[in-house]
Symmetry: C2
Amino acid sequence: MDLTAKTGTTEKTATTTSVLESFAHTSDPRLREVLASLTRHLHDFVRDIEPTQAEWERAIDFLTATGHMCDDTRQEFILLSDVLGVSMLVETINDHKAAAATDSTVLGPFHMTESPVRELGANIDLVGGGEPCVISGRVVSVDGTPLPGATLDVWQADDQGFYDVQQPEKQPPGNGRGLFTADAEGRFWFRSCVPSPYPIPTDGPVGSLLEATGRHPYRPAHVHFIVGAEGYSPVTTHIFVAGSDYLESDAVFAVKESLVEEFVEVDSPEEAAELGLANPFRRARFDIVLQPVIA
Amino acid sequence: MDLTAKTGTTEKTATTTSVLESFAHTSDPRLREVLASLTRHLHDFVRDIEPTQAEWERAIDFLTATGHMCDDTRQEFILLSDVLGVSMLVETINDHKAAAATDSTVLGPFHMTESPVRELGANIDLVGGGEPCVISGRVVSVDGTPLPGATLDVWQADDQGFYDVQQPEKQPPGNGRGLFTADAEGRFWFRSCVPSPYPIPTDGPVGSLLEATGRHPYRPAHVHFIVGAEGYSPVTTHIFVAGSDYLESDAVFAVKESLVEEFVEVDSPEEAAELGLANPFRRARFDIVLQPVIA
């Protein structure tokens, strides 16, 4: 008598068939399509790895702990999506832009508070202490036409690698954030400190996953932008600091070569005084190129 | 100029390659295998459905809400696994038993408190009001040998379809639960009420999913068992009440024909008096068949 006979393929696909049938009457056709695909791929995954009951329980516990880690200032499921490359894949799939337009990249988990409206030229580094910099450029159309009145939502970590929401006791709300409006020639400029590479938060389940897999949690230094103008497709992107560590091994797979910009060191007491920055400082100049909405 | 050019296949698989490489140095070979498979199947799913950013955000919100629904008495991720057929699939994959042994089925989300130790014959219906029943049988080996001292962990919903942990204000802890030890001939028996079909909890994200897909949330009436004996593989299973509604459309896909048992109506004042039950009552008789642990 064979006591260890493996369950047959028929039994293992019967459940899949039943689940697919259970979703067959979903009235929303898109939801029906998504759930049918989810069922097929999820069941394929389970049949592929053949988890033990204990492994299945670990997966349930991992997802539960991930959910419990989420609150108003922490989004562990976005982090999980990020470190599994899903956020970047979704981003790539939705990137239908013209070659000339600025590349997009992931939103990330820290765009959770509204950026304060600021005047062009404002310093978004409300704390000080980091290496000062000035970031400037133009928002233009793919044919080079300036886009006056374009909006730029900017957010970045400080020189120690932390966002305001991560250090409410140390950073005032809105530190490193600003909502700017480009001038009549589409120009923008603001002051800040050079951002630092930083680890994504590692004190939750995603951090445990990275540790168990020998992956470092660091992201290369970057400034986030969401840029929009009437009649144009908005772009969600980062500008990465050239020369930063981890450009080749971003923990969330979000680096695109086209988004790496030089933060050039400027040693000019006159210019520094004019800008209201300490000397020396760094300067980054780049344009954001938007494409018209397809009618 | 083609402004709507779709992102190429190369870009869409590049992220997958990067993620697979990032997990390549995981020291635990099983974890490495699971994460590689997860990455491939999850990315295949995403490429298959091509979610918009808004759809991706809805998925993040759904998982977050599912996590927030979990606490000491509610496990929404198990419910999600159940209604997607994953729990039953994992159960089927791990069912390496001999044909003669009792079939297993899913654990379900309500085995979260320890069942109180009870004497054989005890009534696990501490509230009363339902249709009384007596459940009896033997725990035996695949060759028919009785298994004295076998343990039976039993839990069930009441006649209104609720478990004790769902109604702490109405049901005393341990209502519908009992941990029994079979006698010297492997026999067990206890009293209860006939369980009712019931909806899985619908006030969370899983309930919203069922509603959006036109699926009912009901499970056919059943009693849960985990039965073990020294030297034998334990079985986690249900006994379903023959004739119950929803046997053909269990919301969690857990019905196996071999687990459906008659709860026969008995009209005998003498027997009822002897059992300490109201007349008429119902009687279910079945054996639990375990197989030896493979050395």
